[in-house]
Amino acid sequence: MDNILIIRNLRVAVEGKEILHGVDLEVRRGEVHAIMGPNGSGKSTLAAVLAGREGYDILEGEVLYNGMNLLEMEPEERARAGLFLAFQYPVEIPGVTMATFLRTALNEIRKARGQEPLDPIAFLKIARERMSWVGIDPEFLQRGVNESFSGGEKKRNEIFQLLLLEPQLAILDETDSGLDIDALKVVASGVNRMRSPERSFVVITHYQRLLNYIVPDVVHVLYDGRIVRSGGKELALQLEERGYDWLRAEGEELVLPSIS
């Protein structure tokens, strides 16, 4: 079996309101999956639950990550095991330099991988290289984490962290929102550079646009807390053309196709 992620019948509620009504999803190693859906369909809830954010009640279902019971792991354990979330709204941490923050993070993850910690010189070298891949000025390493970064800079910074931390499974939560086309291309090229048979991506997006640059292996449509359709990359184009309404028109007859 080469599934890095298996989600089975995942039902999740927030403040007593059920948001995910039974999600099933399997992601194989090396694949890029796109999850598309209208606002309020549960995309970000799914990302948050996978990363372990508090405030979500798991009503039913299970999630296996590399064969481990993901839902029982602390967020930092998930991160150290190679799960990465590129945040839709990256948080500012004033006064904590990017260099300190990321070296601490990278060395925690390296420790979990059984690698030696990086000293500041070695860290700077690798950080500068990865920053150049997404066009971030090395001067940013001395700034506070996301502190007074523009919206676009924050998003690029998320991808830089992805490049630096080299996860096995990266979840991108609406990384394209608020980006102009040039920034979008930079972000996509960073992600494409990281594609490998050892690494999987779950790309959550509202728009098809991003998928022109990050071409997915599989596209899923999340609608009203369920995955209502899965298909190849052409499904994204179909959605772009027809919007999500045609799915609504087909209503509840939709049967969940299973991807094997």
């Binding site: 508090e54 930092e76 991160a79 150290r80 941490i93 006064g95 601490t104 993070a105 925690e108 962290q161």
Partner: protein
């Protein structure tokens, strides 16, 4: 800096107050309680000149007429001043050379990370070690003496340099100043004395390490630092106490005097025992610290990191008398569990073109209360005085409190004062962001708090800054989750 920060993070274990041991040394103890006989007792033990007895008795008689201040935002049961011991000193006293220091005392300070052997000391730091009521060792005295710098215990200064002591003792904090200053003046038993002669730049950090050891004993030390014209000195102060479930009183007085063009930098890392998680025990830290910029173009800078004590009542202040003089106050005050801190500063602008700067960072966690109380007063003659105040509070959790009481009194129309204040929380989203990058919650709090305090920590001497970072992390252990 980054390496040390990582080391710091690794050192953050599940330890609680790690300085809480009690050492078994032979001490000479005064009877419990306070009256004129006790003052005679202290005066006699110290072998002080006649004028000191007069001085102490005047203070004591005045103290008896005074009321304990109650305006601070702290609450505690009434203190029974007759239940406190006012003098406790190791039997083997002040010694001629460091080799003579009682091995047991030496062990105490080694355990605290303060070796008294000069060759082992951190490069460039001279230490005066005060245990309970007495100074037990002062290092690097000879080396400093070559430059004319006097660095010794207060007892020794009273004997050897009575002219300087008589001239300046009580000149910045008179015994009439407040209740605790009066008490201190009556019963103080030791402390540090520094005099830097004109034009001398003190080549090493001077440091006093205070340790309370004996039970039911108060510590009342007195520090006097005089920087003569055009001189410079940087002074550090550290403090710890054993874990005891009673409250112990610490009422110190620190006076700084800067003459023309002189600069005094005074840094404190205060780590008195804060009490346990339920708020039992801990030190009552009621301290009066004040400096005067007597000369023109002089400068006094206070930097403090306050993590300890059950209650902190402390307002290191600067009187800006000389024209063009500068006062600074950089503060980080952390409270956790049931700790209470009411701390801040006073900047009194008297001279023309005087400037002051206040940066205060309060951090409250647990069920603690953290108050900033500050006064900026610009007197009539202080033409073109300037003050900038920045006052930030950080809250961790939902059961703590942060309070700010800034007072600004301006009597001169050419003066400019600025005040900025913020309150923020370590939000769940901030912690989650760190954890998603593989950083544990405790480490994330330490990282965030250190980032928040960076502006203040930068003003500490390097060795002290690292120590302070560790303390911040340890003080906030268990404050989340």
């Amino acid at each position: 800096m980054a390496t040390q920060q990582d080391e710091l993070l690794q050192q953050v274990t599940a330890s609680e107050y790690k300085y809480g041991f009690v050492a078994d040394i032979e001490e000479e103890l005064a009877p419990v309680g306070l009256n004129e006989e006790i003052i005679h007792y202290i005066w006699e033990r110290k072998g002080e000149p006649e004028w000191m007895l007069e001085w102490r008795l005047r203070a004591f008689r005045h103290w008896k007429t005074m009321q304990e201040p109650r305006w601070a935002k702290v609450t505690y049961p009434p203190i029974d001043y007759q239940a406190i011991r006012y003098y406790a000193a190791p039997k083997k006293r002040q010694v001629q050379s460091l080799d003579e220091v009682d091995p047991e005392i030496r062990r105490i300070f080694e355990k605290l990370g303060i070796p008294l052997e000069e060759q082992k000391l951190l490069a460039g730091v001279a230490v005066d070690a005060v245990l309970d009521s007495a100074s037990v060792a002062t290092t690097f005295k000879e080396k400093l003496a070559e430059l004319g710098i006097i660095f010794c215990s207060m007892s020794e200064a009273i004997q050897q340099h009575p002219d300087l002591v008589q001239r300046y003792l009580g000149s910045v904090v008179p015994y009439t100043d407040n209740f605790f200053a009066a008490l201190n003046s009556a019963v103080f038993s030791d402390g540090s004395f520094v005099y830097v002669p004109p034009g001398v730049r003190c080549p090493m950090e001077l440091s006093t390490y205070f340790r309370i050891n004996a039970a039911r004993t108060g510590q009342f030390e007195r520090t006097l630092i005089i920087a003569d014209e055009g001189s410079y000195v940087s002074y550090l102060e550290g403090c710890t106490a054993p874990i005891r479930d009673e409250n112990q009183l610490h009422a110190a007085v620190v006076e700084l005097i800067a003459l023309d063009g002189a600069e005094i930098k005074y840094s404190t890392v205060q780590n008195w025992y804060p009490g346990d998680r339920e708020g039992r025990g801990g030190i009552y830290n009621f301290v009066t610290k004040r400096g005067i910029c007597l000369g023109k173009e002089s400068k006094i800078s206070w930097t403090q990191v306050e993590t300890g004590s059950a209650i902190t009542w402390k307002y290191p202040s600067v009187i800006l008398k000389g024209d063009g003089s500068v006062g600074e106050f950089y503060s980080v005050a952390v409270t956790n569990n049931y700790q209470q801190a009411d701390t801040g500063t006073k900047m009194i602008h008297i001279g023309r073109h005087t400037r002051s700067r206040i940066v205060s960072k309060g951090i409250a966690a647990g069920r603690s209360n953290n108050t900033y109380r500050g006064l900026v007063r610009v007197l009539r003659g202080a033409d073109y005085a300037r003050n900038y105040t920045q006052c930030d509070s950080l809250l961790i959790g939902h059961t703590c409190g942060a309070h700010t009481f800034p007072y600004i009194e301006v009597l001169n129309p050419t003066a400019i004062t600025e005040h900025e204040a913020t309150t923020s929380k370590i939000g769940d989203d901030m912690l989650f962001y760190c954890r998603q990058r593989g950083i544990s919650e405790e480490d994330a709090v330490a990282l965030i708090v250190n980032g928040y305090c960076r502006e203040v920590l930068l003003h500490l001497p390097m060795e002290f800054a690292v120590e302070a970072q560790k303390l911040l992390a340890i003080s906030l252990e268990g404050s989340v989750g």
